[in-house]
Amino acid sequence: MAIFNAFLYYPKNVHFESQEEAEKVHFILRRHPITNLGWIIGSIIMILLPLVIMELLRGANIDTFKFFPPRYQFICILLWYLLTIIFTFESFLIWYFNVYIITDKRLIDIDFRGFWRKRVSEASFDSVEDVTYETNNFLHILFDYGNILMQTAAEKAEFEFESIPKPGLVHDTLTNLIEDYKKQND
């Protein structure tokens, strides 16, 4: 589904909180989907665990229905799957709403952690001095994702977009955008 992509180039119908009227969004970036592998595997294990346990008990000839009524077993399994749902949903939310935004004026890093923590950092193109991208490991190369590091003159000296898809393309476009912006404002 396009709306759940990690790489949105000139996204339509996407706006952010502090967006100015004439400000155009060039990129909305999330961490590459492969970085979600940890919680996805965790969720799959949680889904399969009751089935595996039941199969093991059946294999050992332990009839749990004799001392634990079926209705209680059913509710216990439902509660377990509720836990699975909340774990998966929360992990997805954290991934989906932690975004990096590149507009025609600035860079924005929106970071949510836990239930309440929200941090929004931004850097104007004026303050960006150097843009670097890096791919550090085999997975980065295999799935074409990496980090973009930006040195800024602002108080927060370094700005980092972590594990974003197509870092080469983003780096090139970002460099051009910064050059254009600086030319226009000189």
């Binding site: 996407v14 706006h15 001392f67 509660l79 929360e90 939310l93």
Partner: protein, 94 residues
């Protein structure tokens, strides 16, 4: 003649309880009432967390507005409704 019973062997003493014995222990200790209590508390906490997540979703969707937001809000409410339904089922379980 006196009827002298032989003392229980060590094997008998450490043998695992049978299902009937477990049933007896379970009925004496009202284990199911305790289990039901745990389920109710668990579900109450779960419902509170689900409500907090809905609040969190609104905070997030106000920060970034996109076409996927409606689906996510619906999922949040679906999670809360499912939890409330299970809570009602647990309350009526005997």
């Amino acid at each position: 003649m006196t009827n002298i019973q032989s003392p229980p062997t060590l094997e008998k003493m450490i043998s695992p309880p049978s299902i009937d014995q477990l049933n007896e222990v379970v009925s004496i200790l009202h284990v199911f009432a305790v289990v039901k209590g745990f389920m109710v508390v668990f579900l109450l906490v779960y419902i509170i967390i689900s409500a907090v997540i809905i609040k969190q979703i609104y905070l997030m969707t106000n920060t970034i507005k996109g076409p996927g937001n409606q689906i996510i809000i619906l999922l949040g409410y679906a999670n809360l409704i499912i939890a409330i339904l299970i809570f009602v089922i647990v309350l009526f379980i005997s």
